[in-house]
Amino acid sequence: MRRRQTHGIVRPKSASNTFLRWLLFSILGLFALYYLMPMIVMVITALKPLDEIRTGTLLSLPQAPTLEPTFRAWGSACVGVRCAGLSPYVLNSVMMVVPAVAISTMLGAINGYALTKWRFRGADLIFGLMLFGAFIPFQVVLLPMARTLGVLGLAGSVWGLVLVHTVYGLAFTTLFFRNFFVGVSDGIVQAAKVDGAGFFGIFFRVVLPMSLPAIVVTVIWQFTQIWNDFLFGIAFTVGDSNPVTVALNNLVASSTGVKEYNVDMAAAIIAAVPTLIVYIFAGKYFVRGLAAGAVKG
């Protein structure tokens, strides 16, 4: 370490400094292992045949790695009485997540734009009232939502979940776009107005193209939240319409026959892969969503 550096915890004295650096790296490395352990265990367990699980331990590497548990988890493991693996439920989740993310993001964008660039009387109040929806414990809306979905004929369907996630995602998407548009200069909008562009003209031709970063963050954040949801999934869907999180829980919790830990772990990995990929490739945007979620929680 160079002597000039005062930013570190260690004031530069070479011998103790080297020791402290080693200590620092060991501590950080141990924590890295702690965070990685469940993932490592999941992956090596999923690659083992069942008898190796009984004879080996958590961390022993597979002697004869096999993808058989993964294929079973995907296509033939039994969730309840249906033995088609997780694949139909992954499809349910996709069918739920795509429209819910698209609609809540679009509405959030136009709300944020209208609330900041066309400020009308009561805009702040409306925003404040909408924001509250991001903080409520969802238990307080479960019962009336179940009845409303029943009345609408959406009970037990993927479309019901699309509605639920869209509605309760709005508070966050609106918050996020509002915060983004607050930082966009009013001058641009004013100039476009002088040029004769109207509300939608400015939105589609000026504002939307420049808000691409906000769109990316919102889409990634909403995707992760909705894909990972369990509460709404278990409360509002039954059997065939379960999203993948609920199906995974049913698969793992099922107590019939021999417990196939390798298939359980492979199923967990399948349910984790989409958000994990997003995190690995767009982690920066995910973290930005988290930062905005510091308000959402």
Partner: protein
């Protein structure tokens, strides 16, 4: 356009109400799905509803029943144990990691990514993994036996008194990286000059952090606390995946209590009363925070 000025005027008039029209559906949805639903739940909590909603008011009967239900006390006690430990351990780990990572580490990016990835995963997924690791016969215990610690025992998951602590372990694993990210961002926003000044004054690293840096991060403490408290009160998936509330009802939390009474025992009124208690708790934490945030924003 033949007469642009007239056309322009019409456009302008449209633009006065168009923003309101655009926001209206979302606002209406939130009035109905948030405020309307809360009102419905609160109302039901004052009725004698069981299997089906019954709209005859019954005063505080459901609240009396709730507070006379031993299982509700188990849930509250668990929330207290889980909540306090979860928040304290997450804060400690998060702050320590943030400070250590702030020492200009070469592999910072990789480490940060590793510490934070649990947040991207569903509690159901990670609960499944933890359940397997904490499995009394096949998991950690067997690993330790095979290494040579034959007397090692670890059966918290099936121990009535200890099971709630396994929920803490998994919960901390999931959320401490997030606290780390919050504090790291906070540390990075502190002016280097202040730290240099402290070093010139002769303050050691410990005194610099405890005496100067951490007090400056008060707003970060506050938002971390709010987020963690919020997460703790809402925790549902983690318990379901890890212990399903068991053994027996040993790891019940208010969220699983509410779900069980609403959807398995068909006690709508009681479930509504417990949901209202949850709402009140969260509001007691969130409303003052939101109020101060929005106020400071206006200044």
């Amino acid at each position: 356009m033949a007469r642009p000025s007239v056309w322009l005027a019409r456009v302008r008039r449209v633009d006065v109400w168009l923003p309101k029209v655009v926001v209206a559906p979302s606002f209406a949805a939130s009035l109905f799905f948030v405020y309307g639903f809360i009102a419905w739940t609160v109302y039901i909590s004052f009725t004698g509803s069981r299997m089906m909603p019954n709209y005859d008011l019954a005063g505080l009967a459901q609240y009396e029943r709730l507070w006379n239900t031993p299982r509700w006390f188990v849930a509250l006690e668990n929330l207290f144990i889980f909540g306090v430990l979860f928040m304290v351990i997450c804060l400690v780990i998060g702050i320590v990691l943030a400070i250590l990572l702030d020492q200009r580490i070469r592999a910072e990016g990789v480490l940060r990514t590793i510490y934070l990835y649990p947040m991207a995963l569903s509690f159901i997924v990670t609960g499944t993994a933890w359940k397997w690791i904490l499995n009394p016969t096949l998991g950690l215990e067997k690993l330790m036996h095979d290494i040579g610690f034959t007397s090692f025992e670890f059966a918290w998951l099936v121990d009535r008194d200890m099971a709630i602590y396994t929920v803490v372990i998994a919960g901390v694993w999931q959320s401490s990286g997030y606290v780390m990210a919050l504090f790291l961002a906070g540390l990075r926003s502190i002016d280097d000059e202040i730290i240099k000044a402290a070093a010139i004054e002769g303050a050691g690293p410990w005194r610099t952090y405890v005496g100067i840096v951490l007090p400056m991060l008060r707003p970060v403490f506050l938002s971390a606390f709010i987020v963690l408290a919020h997460l703790a009160i809402k925790s549902f998936d983690l318990v379901v995946a890890l212990t399903a509330g068991g053994p027996g009802i040993a790891t019940d939390l208010p969220a699983t209590f509410m779900y069980s009474y609403a959807f398995q025992r068909s006690e709508l009124g009681l479930a509504a009363a417990s949901a209202v208690m949850m709402l009140i708790t969260i509001m007691a934490i969130i409303v003052p925070y939101l109020y101060s945030e929005l106020r400071s924003e206006r200044k």
